[in-house]
Amino acid sequence: MDFATFLQISDTALRFATPLLLACLAGLFSERAGIFDIGLEGKMLMAAMSAGAVAAMTGSVLLGLFAAILGSLMFAAVHGLASITFRGNQLIAGVALNFVASGITVLIAESMFGQGGRTPPLTGAARFANIDLPFAETLRAVPVLGPFYAEVVSGHTILVYVALALVPISWWVLYRTRFGLRLRAVGENPASVDTAGVSVVQLRFSAVIIAGVLCGLAGAYMSTGLQAGFGREMTAGRGYIALAALIFAKWRPWQALWATLLFGFLQALALRPDVVESMTRVAIPVPFLDALPYILTVIVLAGFVGKAIPPRAGGEPYVKER
């Protein structure tokens, strides 16, 4: 693989990693608060449809983004209601919401636009524009780093940079604020948080809402940044890959960035089997590359590469002692 190809693939990798990263951070907040979230996929899908539909109708991508967050939050609210208020099974709630999202997005898009469950192609202000970072062209002359900056780092939509900025922000919120400490505590030992006089329900709901907003961003990026419009099942399992990345990252923000970049790189490589073949000198089947994030996650889960320990109170509804 020559340097130009590497840059090209890295650029695609960053695009592919962005929705994974946003969804992964969503899962991070939710699961750190003790709410397992299988429903990342459904929330992203709902957000992608909402963004695509509203952006197509109004021609404004910002309104689309707003709709995406709203759509995702509706699903997050149901998830919170089922798993916090009514102490239902969090996993089943997530699975259920994924199904509802998979069907209802097509139903709504079809009844609004009648184009077989797609939203009309977006152009101009209805999409997020690519941003050229300052000095991208001037610095291009600098060996190695210059082209990397100009080709890979620069020239993405605002959501890519928002996603990257959210990594240190998430770290700061989780590890350096009172809210973050309580959030992590509620995922490990909710009874202790309750004893300290802090509402478990309120904390868990705020975590679920943060997850909803982040999935909204991820979905909006899918239909208005990565692609120009919503298509049925367009998230194509990304919610589950994000879940895998979260385990791979052992529920930590910086590691989430590396994990999603790795998985994004694998997705980008799967589009270029010729490059893979020239590198390894054996024909590697594309399906194998597609499956690699899942295989890696199973290996991590099996504890062969360090141990992935989930938050201790994850998945358990909290019942106040009487």
Binding site: L97, F99, A101, I108, R232, P287
Partner: protein, 379 residues
């Protein structure tokens, strides 16, 4: 919270959950400007209105019985097996390998061998997540989801690169030999009359040989095997030592260990049975219907098994009824897609809502009912 009477817990809770799911679905239809009544009429006619419609409804139900039982057996051991989809696809691979291996002399022998292949491959695909759960504590929900995707990738590879006959474009295996053809309902003598075709004049239509013609339906002898599987799972869970151990382990791991039940053994056995049942679904769709292995052969039935098991309250009888209900939903949804402007995806929404109300919001229904029963008890 008031404890509900058993009849209310077993009968009323799922019924109310189902009603809520139906009401929300009707609301969705109204919201997109469609008539729920018209939708229901089309669905009932398309799925239950004729023996031909039943031939499809029961075909889908057969698949859902297997995947529903698969989820249930794991559930009783306290394991949530979301991997039914992947296990069913691997089961399909087992069926295809068996059916293509030999020129089978008779369908009964082919069926027995294919059942073995399906169960073996399905169980094998469940074995790895089971082992990782039992030995290394890897969460089975996540590993089985991962294995669904790995299964899909593996099958795409095998269908494109290995099983596809030369010169064929679509990624699918070769057609199975005619001797591996399972009798469908219109080929079973006592049912045959139901599917006879009649001309506009009301007389039976005859083919070139002067024999009566029959409508083709995909429902096949596997339906009977599915019923048998319900009975066997019921016997296994409630009338054998193993079933007792599985249920005890699912209720309380600590108590089970204290009683000398090995967690490793129970997790492995429960998941192997679960995977085998999910795999067995393939004799219905791969051997009984498509008669070759195609991509995405399970087409979501593995996931519907979750809804079926929840709706059927993890009891084989309940699963049978819930599977027929989902068969109705699946076939009725297809009729909607053909005859109305309502997209076929409505059935995915209803499926999700049923899972939501029966599996995650069941406490809400119980609380409501509990309040009602408490009031009744007070007067």
């Amino acid at each position: 919270m008031t404890k509900l009477p058993t009849w209310a817990d077993v009968g009323l809770v799922p019924l109310i959950s189902l009603t809520l799911a139906a009401l929300v679905s009707a609301g969705v239809l109204l919201a997109i400007g469609q008539s729920p009544m018209q939708a229901l009429t089309v669905m009932v006619n398309g799925a239950l209105g004729s023996s031909y419609a039943w031939g499809y409804t029961l075909y889908y139900a057969t698949s859902f019985i297997f995947t529903g039982l698969a989820v249930t057996v794991a559930f009783h051991a306290g394991l949530f097996n979301i991997g039914g989809e992947g296990q069913a696809q691997l089961g399909g691979l087992g069926v295809a390998l068996v059916c293509l291996a030999l020129p089978w002399p008779h369908w009964t022998i082919a069926l027995l061998a294919a059942m073995f292949g399906a169960a073996l491959f399905g169980a094998a695909w469940a074995a790895i997540p089971a082992y990782l759960q039992a030995k290394r504590g890897s969460h089975i929900v996540i590993t089985t989801i991962m294995f669904n995707y790995i299964a899909a990738a593996l099958l795409i590879y095998l269908l494109v690169n290995v099983l596809r006959p030369d010169g064929q474009m679509d990624p699918a295996s070769a057609n199975f030999p005619a001797s591996a053809h399972l009798p469908q309902f219109q080929e079973i003598p006592i049912l045959q009359g139901l599917f006879q075709r009649f001309g506009a004049d009301g007389l039976p239509r005859l083919n070139a040989q002067g024999m009566p013609m029959y409508q083709q339906v995909p429902a096949n002898v596997t339906f009977l095997i599915a019923i048998l599987a319900c009975v066997l799972v019921w016997v296994m869970l409630w009338h054998t030592r193993l079933g007792f151990a599985i249920r005890a382990f699912g209720k309380s791991e600590k108590a089970a260990v204290y009683a000398g039940i090995s967690p490793l053994r129970i997790i492995m056995i429960a998941m192997l049975i679960s995977g085998a049942l999910a795999g067995l679904m393939a004799i219905n769709n791969v051997m009984g219907q498509s008669e070759r292995l195609v991509q995405n052969s399970a087409s979501g039935a593995g996931f519907i098994g979750i809804a079926v098991a929840l709706m059927g309250r993890n009891h084989p009888l309940g699963i049978f009824l819930a599977a027929v209900l989902f068969g109705f939903l699946f076939q009725g949804g297809a009729a909607l897609g053909l005859e109305t402007d309502i997209p076929i995806e409505l059935r995915t929404v209803v499926q999700g809502l049923v899972i939501l109300f029966t599996g995650a919001l069941d406490q809400m229904v119980r609380m409501l009912l509990g309040a009602f029963f408490a009031k009744k008890g007070a007067t």
